[in-house]
Subunit: 359 residues, 2 copies
Amino acid sequence: MGCGGVGRQLLQHIVSSRILHANKGIRLRVVGVCDSKSFLVTLDVLSKEFDDAFLMDICRTKSDRLPLEKCKCEAFPYSESRRKLTDIAARLGFVLVDCSASSETIEVITLTLNLGCCAVLANKKPLTCSMEDFDKLFLQPRRIRHESTVGAGLPIIASLSRIISSGDEVTLIIGSLSGTLGYVMSEVENGKPFSEVVKAAKDLGYTEPDPRDDLSGMDVARKGLILARLLGQRFDMSTIRIESLYPDNMGPDMMTLEDFLANGLPLLDNDIEEKIKKASSNGKVLRYVCILQASNCIIGVHEVDEDSALGRLKGSDNVVEIYSRCYEKPLVIQGAGAGNDTTAAGVLADIIDLQDLFA
Amino acid sequence: MGCGGVGRQLLQHIVSSRILHANKGIRLRVVGVCDSKSFLVTLDVLSKEFDDAFLMDICRTKSDRLPLEKCKCEAFPYSESRRKLTDIAARLGFVLVDCSASSETIEVITLTLNLGCCAVLANKKPLTCSMEDFDKLFLQPRRIRHESTVGAGLPIIASLSRIISSGDEVTLIIGSLSGTLGYVMSEVENGKPFSEVVKAAKDLGYTEPDPRDDLSGMDVARKGLILARLLGQRFDMSTIRIESLYPDNMGPDMMTLEDFLANGLPLLDNDIEEKIKKASSNGKVLRYVCILQASNCIIGVHEVDEDSALGRLKGSDNVVEIYSRCYEKPLVIQGAGAGNDTTAAGVLADIIDLQDLFA
């Protein structure tokens, strides 16, 4: 599901890694592709699959913002995708892949899992719903994977899952989980005004079209919630303390984007500059982080040691420090935490990791 | 197999994580334990297992360097372990865990895998044998796991496996894979003479009883070979260029340990000091690293950027930088890469990860 940048990149990864996987005895069959308008399915899911040329056709069609083509397959309107998926699941065990950014997919994922299928998510929304819905998704936790929901393809979820299953006790996770805010904070640290850095980041395509979507901290909070729930904590979004980088009166409901960029943002420069000076006088640097402990999850600006992995972070890399009994000095994972290529790579690695359930 | 420090710690991890795993529907049954002298097996592997009290008994007995006890189970001499394991494998799918440091386990591991069982190794030796024997072990690669052979519990193998299965192309791996040599190089960097640092590391218990076992680079070379083979390269130990930190004429065959410490080591101080000065004049620092590319694997002293994860490394942490299409700036994994606790944690995570094959 989902044929945005990540979905298209995933189809390309599948095509280009075919020989590699065939050599290991793995055959990846794509039998259906769905976007928000329509659902394409092969004529017979048991015997037919989309060939590579057709998959690349889909990528091109979606890149050109055209509707999905309808040759060589059955096409259904999106409204019928639920019924159609149920039909297929009754005949075939498959992996449902959600590369969308929709909060509406949770029902169809749950349904498919209940029918014995597996799911791989790059979409954070279904994992940050109510605990009740979350529990339904994780009735059989081995059947659902979601590495790319935190730090894109970085092996954060996989590593944390290993630590948990080894019986080690995680005491603290601190991470810079937004490439955008990581970039902003390290540029501000270099002496540039906050407003100019945000505008430059927007011009470079690092931010969402409205940078307030990044500055609100909501995206980081979703990642924090996913990690908290992985640790077994029954948190909701409302449990998480989120510090937005802009005040309520500059929100999208109160101020246009143009007004925010021209008049709102510059009003925030002094405050950030003061905080940086204060941190610096303590030998620290400012980072926008997620701090996760047993009892709480805090998202916001935080002073960290200049000499830590977090403190040394530059550019748009993500970094996560995991502290536990085994890792009194933290286990550190760092690298590119955004981008269609690495996000889709994480999704494909998840799919491959499910192979034992189809053996 | 193997009841040294790692094996004992593993039994303790199994006991202490029982409730955690039971809550996830996983029951870990230990039906046999083997050391170099004897092999204990439950009276009926299908219905009986060692209880927690008995497992802790085994740990205590081995800590006290006594032979394995023989109550509540059958005991066989080590020479019969092969026949006995074959018997059990015919009746029960199980995971054979090798926490020994022996090169003699490869035959029994291969045998057990061929009978449909799985294997988890903390022991590097079976993975650094001839390519012919290695191929036999990896006939069904999903059935064999070995995270703790490189960087102890650090998720290096798991992360690299994910990158490979995502179809991403790894172009370069650089790692400091010896906590001992990492400590030595960072202390030498701080201006201390090489000979004094090595002696201090020995006194702290950081090195093998004869530090030349670390300084030879052989342990790092084994880890490099394991990573190379994971990338699909058909390397042997003889393919790897290994730079020893002492010359041949100071080897264990030529010089006693006492003589080496008192008279050999100090002769090496100048050379290392010169190399550090030269590196420093290039804005670099010296590290003892494994460099792995498509065509070769080099183990030795290398100048790295002061400002890289490797260059900033302090103390006994391991660090690995993985470069690939997705990670032009490297994916970095860093943390404690030695110690019984974390090594055994990695083994247990591997065991749990095999659960889908027993579903």
